[in-house]
């Protein structure tokens, strides 16, 4: 099974998947694998501040003397959770909107899709910043702020899928048999939309992570002392380039992970016929 998965994803996709799995494992096992768990969670250690990378601190320390490896590992917990929540929340809003609009058509479609268009008309990051600024900083608020700009894409994708499925003879057959709309949507339409939406979600995880990090970078996301990559980049900025490792460690991590999700998403999209078999 591992071999066939590797074959489907190609070498780039497989490496990406490896990176992502590795990051998730680090995040889950943070208390065990982080060399200085207390510092990872925020306890200062002023005596060792701004130390360059060394055998003890592989990625150096920050301005409060905390081990950067531990900070980045603990930051993974926050960043991955935020990314997942953003995608999940976007799906939770976008999927029902797209299903209803596509299935019922007519004025329901017009009404829902015009609302969707309004959200799409705003630049996503600007809207997210506005929302976050209005609601105040914090993990939940920044998640909601990004999800608000994200769901229209899922609504449109779901709607497009439904429009194709609605005309399928087996869906029409169900209608002609007197099956209720709810049952048709849940039984015949929803299962067939899940695959393209799963691919989209994987593709979106990277950008979601980036946007959430951007909000934190601007001080609108996760607040110190909780470790968050975007916020760490911002804090390290003032010491750059002299103490380059402070901003570089979280920055490069964000870059690598966002890239990995993007490459994996592409690999899935290129061969989404295989995803269903692997998932079954």
């Amino acid at each position: 099974m591992m071999r066939s998965l590797f074959k489907r994803l190609g070498w780039a996709g497989s490496i990406s998947l490896g990176i992502i799995v590795f990051c998730f494992l680090l995040a889950i096992l943070a208390p065990v694998v982080a060399p200085f768990p207390a510092q990872g969670m925020g306890t200062p250690n002023i005596t060792d501040k701004l130390m360059p990378p060394s055998a003890e601190h592989w990625l150096g320390t920050d301005h409060l003397g905390r081990d950067m490896v531990s900070r980045v590992i603990y930051g993974a917990r926050v960043s991955l959770t935020t990314g997942m929540l953003i995608v999940a929340l976007s799906l939770a809003i976008g999927l029902p909107v797209g299903l209803l609009a596509g299935y019922f058509g007519g004025w329901i479609d017009d009404a829902l899709m015009r609302v969707t268009d309004v959200f799409l008309a705003f630049p996503a990051l600007l809207l997210a910043v506005l929302m976050a600024a209005a609601m105040g900083a914090g993990m939940v608020n920044s998640t909601v702020a990004v999800a608000v700009t994200w769901w229209p894409w899922y609504a449109r994708l779901a709607r497009a899928e439904v429009l194709v499925l609605r005309g399928q003879p087996y869906v029409e057959a169900a209608r002609v048999m007197g099956v209720s709309h709810g049952t048709i949507i849940l039984r015949h339409i929803l299962p067939s939309t899940s695959r393209p939406l799963a691919v989209q979600a994987a593709l979106d995880f990277g950008p979601a992570l980036l946007t959430a990090s951007a909000l934190s970078f601007l001080g609108l996301g996760i607040l110190p002392p909780t470790a968050d990559w975007g916020q760490m980049v911002n804090a390290g900025r003032s010491f750059f380039p002299l103490r380059w490792w402070y901003a570089a460690a979280p920055g490069v991590t964000i870059f690598v992970l966002a890239l990995a999700f993007s490459v994996l998403g592409d690999a899935l999209r290129g061969d989404d016929g295989g995803l269903g078999d692997a998932a079954r």
Binding site: P169, R175, V176, M177, G178, T183, P191
Partner: protein, 264 residues
Amino acid sequence: MDEPLLQIRDLVVRYRRTGFFSAPPPPAVNAISLELASGSTLGLVGESGSGKSSLLRAILRLVPVESGTIRLDGDDWLALPEQVLRERRRAIGVVAQNPFLSLSPRLTIAEILAEPMTAQGRVPAQELRERAADMLERCGLPGTFLTRRARELSGGQAQRVAIARALVLQPKLLILDEPTSALDISVQAQILNLLADLKQELGLSMLFVTHNLKVVRHVSDTLVVMRSGRVVEAGSTEQISFAPAEEYTRQLMGYGGNLRDRSR
């Protein structure tokens, strides 16, 4: 009980214009009237684009009707509100052209056969299975097929499943939309024989839609020939197949082309 099972009067179906300034398209179904007596089989024949599919979709209430009436089993069919319609739909069973498209690829045959029953209300699982197996057997497939999926069946087997699904609620009217066109010749004959048997056994009324007059000749009592949305010819099957009044009807029969060649 003299009223025919299905009675269509001056039915007009017209699709929406394509653009705001474009002229409305000609009606796909143009003032069609026809009757289907209880217990009989009506063959609806026409070339592709003749409007037979639109007529069918209008009867199934899948497309809006511009004018005209449909009476089905005593109901003013087009006036039924959505909720009532859903329940009355059990009066009609439908078999589509391609069973691999009309049967969900995700469900087992048992689930496919249960769907019309559960659509009409809660049915105990045991009874669902028994009725599904019973109808499947009547359609010539053993109960072991219940656990399979449509893609594991041959075309003929899948079409038998589709017929079983259409009949599982014991509808008064069975609508067949090119039920044999996607099958190869030997299987076509088997399906036609099965339909003839089921008609006898269950006292079905059938509306058989096809472009192939040869096929429908064997099963229908009366024929309606359609062309560009209108009825060209209607009457008993013998009359039309032995003495077709129209050249078009002859062509549908499959030997019109030859006649024309000879006259040249």
